[in-house]
């Protein structure tokens, strides 16, 4: 994406974002309201950007025909996804597969596979409404991977998962990231440290930092950020640096006027 800009009424959610993502697991970190969800929603083709250009899998998503082709190869877990109370896990995942226009003959096996990968094989015929919050989240992940997507977008996927489930989920992320471009928006820096090949820090609608998790940890050690572990220290140090640079830029603009 180049020069991506997203506005919500008077608020600028994303401003001049340039980002190039390839296969691997990309962690999106940032404070609340930084623009992570706006970025994921644009990539998921749910929201249209106000400006800039977004290409996914080589196609410009503004074109309707290209958008359909992209959606076939896209998996998306929204921050809050509603589910249909009467549906079982199998039915919900199969329904999303149908919406993605997967060939009908492939759907039952794809559903079984996706549900098994998120560890819900034993609950596949349970009603979604009877599951715990963490299990519902895993149903959400199952629907996102049912079409074996080339681009997988996950907005706060580990919210509600217990520690053991999170460890298993990180392993799944690492496995998916070998062949897929996975973008994970999260507040949990330990998820990024454990599962991501690259980290992008978003602050006030702009990219504040890009690098690998070890490089972010190293920044924390060298710049002396606050936090309980190296990656947290890196996160706070990168934020601090970005905010200082933004203040300096604003001051220079003021002087120029």
């Amino acid at each position: 994406m180049a020069g991506l800009r997203v506005r919500h009424r008077r608020t600028v959610a994303l401003d001049s974002v340039d980002l190039d993502l390839g296969p691997g697991v990309h962690g999106l970190l940032g404070p609340n309201g930084a623009g992570k969800t706006s970025l994921i929603r644009v990539l998921a083709t749910v929201a249209a950007p106000t400006g800039g250009r977004v290409e996914l899998l080589g196609d410009d998503v503004r074109d309707r025909r290209h958008r359909s082709a992209v959606r076939r190869r896209l998996g998306y877990l929204p921050q809050e996804f509603g589910y249909y109370p009467g549906f079982t896990v199998r039915e919900f995942v199969a329904y999303v597969a149908w919406l993605k226009e997967m060939p009908a003959a492939q759907v039952p096996a794809a559903v079984e596979r996706a549900v098994e990968r998120v560890g819900l094989a034993e609950r596949v015929d349970a009603k979604v409404k009877t599951l715990s919050g963490g299990m519902v989240r895993r149903v959400g992940i199952a629907q996102a991977i049912v079409n074996e997507p080339d681009v997988l977008l996950l907005d706060e996927p580990t919210a509600g998962l217990d520690p053991e489930q999170r460890v298993e989920f990180r392993a799944l992320l690492r496995e998916l990231g070998t062949a897929t471009t996975v973008v994970v928006s999260t507040h949990l820096v330990e998820d990024v440290a454990a599962a991501c090949t690259e980290v992008t820090l978003v602050e006030a609608g702009r990219i504040a930092y890009r690098g690998t998790p070890p490089a972010l940890a190293e920044l924390g050690e060298s710049a002396g950020g606050a936090g309980d572990n190296p990656i947290e220290r890196g996160y706070t140090a990168a934020l601090r640096t970005h905010r200082a640079a933004a203040l300096e830029e604003a001051a220079l603009e003021e002087v120029a006027r």
Binding site: A44, T45, V46, S68, R71, R72, L74, Y76, P78, E80, F81, G82, Y83, Y84, P85, G86, F87, T88, R90, E91, A94, Y95, V96, W98, L99, K100, E101, A104, A105, Q106, V107, P108, V111, D125, Q143
Partner: protein, 206 residues
């Protein structure tokens, strides 16, 4: 059960059945059938063979209720995921709305057979389509869960005020209370086409 089997064994109807269940269409069908039965019972109890105009409450109010049932069936619990669908939504929405509207109009007409020119089947079809059009437009603009509200307000106002209203345009704006087709039928048809079209293109507001 059929949908469950469909999800397990790849039948061509599995997807459409899951779509129907996602919109609670089976429940809506049961309520629509019950409403039609109630309308038949009510129309029979009004002794309309003495005076067909006694069927006014049935012709004006039953379509209002059934349009609310259709309107709430347009709700989706998973709007964010729906927006990433490859399948074109406009076809599903059009089939959904047209099927329920046609079925309801047909069923409700059975309640007022005979004397077609005085609150008979043409008036019932007109009112069913008109109120459903208003509800569909409200689903697109306000959201499906509140979609019944504008039609309820409009038809209630017309029901109360039409008798004392005068003027050339009364037959148009007071279409829910007109005994036959006429100009009111065009107004109701316009409401159905515009409201239905708005919903088919935009979908229900979350």
């Amino acid at each position: 059960m059929t949908a469950l089997l469909g999800a397990r064994t790849a039948t061509p109807l599995a997807g459409p059945l899951l779509y129907a269940r996602s919109r609670a269409v089976p429940r809506a069908l049961v309520v629509l059938l019950a409403s039609a039965g109630l309308a038949v019972w009510a129309a029979h109890g009004l002794d309309a063979y003495v005076d067909p105009s006694r069927r006014v409450p049935v012709v004006a109010l039953t379509p209002l209720f059934t349009s609310a049932v259709i309107g709430t069936s347009l709700y989706t619990a998973s709007d964010e995921l729906d927006r990433t669908a490859v399948r074109p939504w406009w076809r599903l929405r059009a089939v959904h709305l047209l099927t329920l509207s046609a079925l309801t109009a047909g069923l409700l007409s059975l309640a007022v057979l005979g004397h077609p020119s005085v609150f008979g089947p043409p008036a019932m079809v007109r009112n069913t389509l008109g109120t459903t059009g208003l509800t569909a437009a409200a689903a697109a603009l306000l959201g499906a869960r509140l979609s019944w509200l504008p039609a309820f307000a409009y038809v209630s106002a017309v029901y109360v005020g039409a008798a004392s209203a005068h003027g050339r345009l009364v037959t148009v704006w007071a279409w829910p209370m007109q005994p036959d087709g006429g100009a009111g039928a065009w107004a109701a048809a316009a409401a159905f086409v515009v409201g239905g079209g708005l919903y088919v293109v935009r979908g229900a507001r979350p």
